[in-house]
């Protein structure tokens, strides 16, 4: 697993502003060229990137292998979807609500799950996520297993029309950048230090006087809230939410993105999402069995480059990489 204590992904301080500027420019360019298909494809990739980054928070930085993260994404999506269906289309209510409800579920699930360790923790988070999946499936009023269609996107007022692909793209970009900035500040703060410490050795961290369980729980809730945000964006992007979004195989997909992009790095989830979704699209052109090939690639990556692709490119100043 990646062991960077500082969370510098791109070494140069000007790297991020340049990237963001490029992203803004790219969006505008695509709109101007009439390539709105690619614009919405990019939006989708960034939304998954945000979801994967939120997982990286608990998994990569926290060292806690949570296998039910898709549940929080789905809960966020359903919250916004249900609100819109019930006549509350305001994004100013929907988005915070999505994050709040996801955070609540994360608090409940985390409170029980974090009392366990290792293999138990993984399976319990998995099982609880499945529970949420079955819940979503059985609530016929909101589509049940057929999913929920929403007739309009979130309304933020001020003439912001999310039906416009470029406007939506900028919203996604904004959420992504803000979330990554928050993650960056978080991991460099006192709180972040404790999180990284308990990843290395939770017993020692406790022996210094930190209540490790509480830190883990707070981290879990923050990651859940961020996942909820990505879900709110996702239901807007697809105008649709379906219980399959919460299925544990979706949690697996998020984990795949994290490992492809770099465990425990700030934007690892984003790179992984871009890579995986591109791979899927490329393979899907040639064969309906694209999962077969993606599976082999993933297997190869896990066996040979355990820190993910970002880990391959990252140079440490001194010190030996952990195995």
């Amino acid at each position: 697993m990646n062991t960077s204590t500082t969370t510098a992904t791109l070494a140069k301080p000007w790297a991020w502003p340049v990237l963001i500027a490029l992203a803004i420019g790219l969006g505008w360019l695509m709109q101007a060229q009439g390539q709105s298909f690619y614009l919405s494809m990019l939006s989708r990739m960034m939304i998954y990137g945000l979801a994967a980054c939120s997982l990286n928070l608990i998994l990569g930085y926290g060292g806690l292998v949570s296998f039910g993260h898709a549940a929080f994404v789905g809960i966020g999506a359903y919250t916004v979807g249900i609100l819109i269906t019930e006549g509350v289309p305001s994004g100013w209510i929907g988005f915070p609500a999505a994050m709040l409800v996801s955070a609540l579920f994360a608090a409940l699930i985390g409170a029980i799950s974090l009392r366990t360790r290792g293999v138990y923790f993984i399976m319990i988070t998995l099982a609880f996520a499945q529970m949420v999946y079955y819940l979503a499936n059985s609530v016929k009023a909101y589509g049940g297993d057929e999913g929920l269609n929403i007739r309009m996107r979130s309304d933020f007022g001020f003439g912001i029309n999310l039906k416009n692909d470029l406007v939506f793209y900028y919203l996604v970009l904004l959420c992504l950048v803000l979330s990554l900035w928050f993650m960056h500040r978080l991991m460099h703060s006192r709180f972040g230090r404790v999180v990284l410490a308990q990843r290395d050795d939770d017993v020692r961290t406790e022996a210094l006087g930190f209540a490790v369980y509480r830190y883990q729980l707070v981290l879990f809730v923050l990651a859940g809230a961020m996942g909820g945000l990505s879900g709110a964006l996702m239901v807007n992007q697809q105008n649709y939410v379906n219980p399959n979004l919460l299925d544990w195989t979706q949690s697996g997909v998020l984990m795949v993105m994290v490992i492809l992009g770099g465990v425990g790095t700030l934007a690892g989830g984003l790179w992984g999402a871009l890579l995986l979704l591109t791979l899927e699209d490329v393979f899907a052109e040639y064969t309906v069995h694209w999962q077969f090939y993606v599976g082999w690639i993933l297997l190869a990556v896990v066996l040979m480059a355990p820190k993910g692709l970002a880990g391959l490119f990252q140079r440490r100043a001194k010190g030996v990489q952990h195995g």
């Binding site: 292998v65 290792g118 138990y120 609880f128 795949v256 599976g295 355990p306």
Partner: protein, 305 residues
């Protein structure tokens, strides 16, 4: 709820629980001895079901189809273990999760490429009728056979684990792997055999449940979660825990699905009952797990050192 219905549902719960046990026992041993998460365990169940369906069609005999599918699946499992899974034992849990997740993708698609998305498998004609167990209680004979097979295999496993030398090694390994290795037990070979046995049991479950639950790609994943719940409740590494857990989950799930909607319709207005009933039914098992974990985070019968 009449007596007849209660007995019928009890038998259903027993039947489901026993089949779950076939999956859970192999899984708990893998976790217990090798501390490895194997998500692909459900894929073995699926492969067993597909092989059975294919062979039954080939041989035109249910019995032969199942009897051949089991050792084939066992061999497949052992090959998988000795080539790929072995390299994962030393790795961290997340790597194991991802590698076996990748395996699921590969195996699912491979099955789809060979046989298509689903195969038909029906119970043998001789067992398609009901048996009258008690006056008024008619129960499908095929399900009775499943119960019989399940009990027989459970007994067989019990005898192997408690009476044979291999079983003693397994129990030693399950409670303390390093100690077992230090005592000179060839843990590599033991483990391949245990894995093969687990794969065989998965195959039996897959083949027997095929006629009831449909043989299709992805069938492994849904039952795998329940198997996880079982061993979390029962305690990792404990076969007895897997047995108790399986029966518990089997009964709670079966009764939950039949009783709760009834109950909700009695108590709540129809609007609420229509959604709340099935919703509650589907999450009963997970609530059970949450309760058990709250009281005993390591499971009911955990023997981990």
């Amino acid at each position: 709820m009449t007596w007849i219905l209660f007995l019928e549902q009890s038998l259903n719960g027993l039947q489901f629980g026993l089949m779950l046990f076939l999956l859970a026992s192999g899984l708990t041993l893998v976790f217990g001895i090798m501390d490895m998460i194997n998500l692909a365990h459900g894929a073995l169940y699926m492969v067993g079901a597909f092989l059975a369906a294919w062979l039954v069609n080939l041989t035109q005999s249910f019995l032969w189809g199942v009897l051949l599918a089991v050792p084939l699946t066992a061999v497949f499992g052992m090959v998988l273990e000795s080539t790929l899974l072995r390299t994962l034992y030393r790795r961290d849990h997340m790597s194991q999760v991802l590698a076996t997740f990748a395996l699921i993708l590969i195996i699912n698609e491979a099955v789809r490429m060979i046989w298509g998305s689903d195969l038909a498998l029906s119970a043998p004609a001789a067992l398609s009728g009901p048996v009258e167990l008690l006056p008024g209680l008619k129960y499908p004979s095929y399900r009775l056979v499943i119960i019989g097979v399940g009990l027989a295999l459970a007994l067989f496993l019990y005898l192997v684990v408690t009476q044979t030398r291999m079983g003693a090694w397994v129990r030693a390994g399950a409670s303390n792997r390093d100690m077992a290795m230090a005592m000179g037990i060839n843990i590599q070979r033991l483990f391949t055999m245990v894995f093969g046995l687990g794969a065989a049991m998965c195959a039996v479950a897959g083949a027997m449940l095929g006629p009831l639950l449909a043989v299709q790609v992805g069938m492994g994943e849904s039952i795998l979660i329940l198997a996880f719940v079982v061993i979390v409740i029962g305690g990792i590494g404990s076969i007895w825990g897997a047995f108790v857990g399986s029966l518990l989950v089997g009964f709670v799930d079966t009764f939950g699905r039949t009783l709760l909607p009834h109950l909700f319709r009695e108590i709540f207005p129809p609007q609420v009952a229509a959604t709340a009933g099935p919703a509650a039914a589907s999450i009963m098992v997970y609530l059970l797990m949450a309760v058990v974990l709250f009281i005993r985070p390591q499971g009911l019968f955990s023997r981990r050192a």
